[in-house]
Point group: C2
Chain length 256, copies 2
Amino acid sequence: MVQQNTGPKAPVKTAERTFELVEFLKDADGATLTEATDALDLPKSSVHNYLKTLEHRGYVVETDGVYEVGLRFLDLGAYARTNVPLYPVAEPELEALAEETGELANLLVEQDGRGTFIYRKKGENAVKIDSYNGQQILLHTTAVGKAILANLPGERVEAILERHGLPEKTERTITDREALFDELDEIRTEGFSYDREERIHGLKCVATPVFHDGDVAGGISVTGPTSRMSEERIEGELKQQLRNAKNIIELNLSHS
Amino acid sequence: MVQQNTGPKAPVKTAERTFELVEFLKDADGATLTEATDALDLPKSSVHNYLKTLEHRGYVVETDGVYEVGLRFLDLGAYARTNVPLYPVAEPELEALAEETGELANLLVEQDGRGTFIYRKKGENAVKIDSYNGQQILLHTTAVGKAILANLPGERVEAILERHGLPEKTERTITDREALFDELDEIRTEGFSYDREERIHGLKCVATPVFHDGDVAGGISVTGPTSRMSEERIEGELKQQLRNAKNIIELNLSHS
DNA sequence: AAAAGTGTTCGGGAAATACGAACCGGCTCA
DNA sequence: TGAGCCGGTTCGTATTTCCCGAACACTTTT
């Protein structure tokens, strides 16, 4: 069951290539024209035209022959985030959560089957992983992602699996459909989900979903190094702190 | 002297149309297929293909026939921001500045002649304008923008004016080339710049540039309602607070 | 039940892109 | 100093890809 990825009937190829190029620039952390030419399967001159077009609009910047993702995307991205009603309500609570726990606190929402961390706040002792706001992940690889999946209608979950599959990030990632559904059942009854080094080695998370009008609006979680994330601490303070934050967010969400 | 806008020799039109569509969705705050069709000058079926292609990749989301800018842009945008060395250094100082002043504190960088607010923090009494992170503006319309312009090499300023012109935002916006250059001279000697309702009615700003290795890396500013932004307050506390923040940022920047 | 408004599908013609070759400019190294 | 190299830019042509209108399917309105 690899990703089926049917896609649109008549995709606009040039648009796809455009985004492939930008995504490549991101993954490569900047690249020269020739590097980009090697990566995409296009002649130099074509890639050149793309890059110049994007640069002209501010979606790409060039410094000394190296092309980078431009800040114009931040305009669109931050705008997209303001459209998520959960964001303004949850932000202060996430800050508090990061402060209380000293760890990394996360807010994830689902869109199109992908998970996006729309806000992450590092506490004092937070792990120093590459955890920028806006990062996208696959739902089945994280605690928050599973918290959301567990509370989505069955057919949505099916569609998401169909679309994205269950790729493996570490050897602990859930890659089996049945295993996933079993765990989602548990999560639904317990109200909390866990990530035990399923996405990144050495990292554990606890998460809980956030509801609005009976639907999952997103999820919040706390991430820390395995060494500090003992069963006692999770069961004790962390779950309680998450519950608090969740309650406040849900309350404020229903009043907005 | 309206914008010349020469642009690339061989622009990729499909890529341009793609971004025009996304930018339209942003400006319109979401739109239906037919609305988008009316706005762009394309047949329904073409717009449909674009939208479906973008949706498939997470750059656009559709709910009940309304298309919106997708969160996937946040991934790219926030990533682009992490590439700006000024950002992590300045963020805590901006927070402090917002706290101290109670107003809106801003961090702007220039890229490709455009200004991007890569971080904005609202203080307790901050004006409630639409001031999201990532917002893009034209440099000549803001205090921070002028602070940056004043310290850019002459030919860069020329190129920027050539490219973007001096469009008017309020009746106080500087639209005259000579007037702008005169003001930039003053700013350069004084070390501070001002915006007296030149971009938005009722709003005043004070700003100062931030240097790194002798070049402008960006600028910081404080924005408030005209009523609270008296000459005394600006000359007194605000300039001092800005000077402090600027010094700390420049110090940390040189050590990184 | 008909009509109006949406979104979706289809196929042919035209235009935009892919493509390779040739050109240009800066660097390195002999 | 000059030849060669490496990267970026320009150009013209072949053809892929997109534009486009019309026809279809679906929902909602009256």
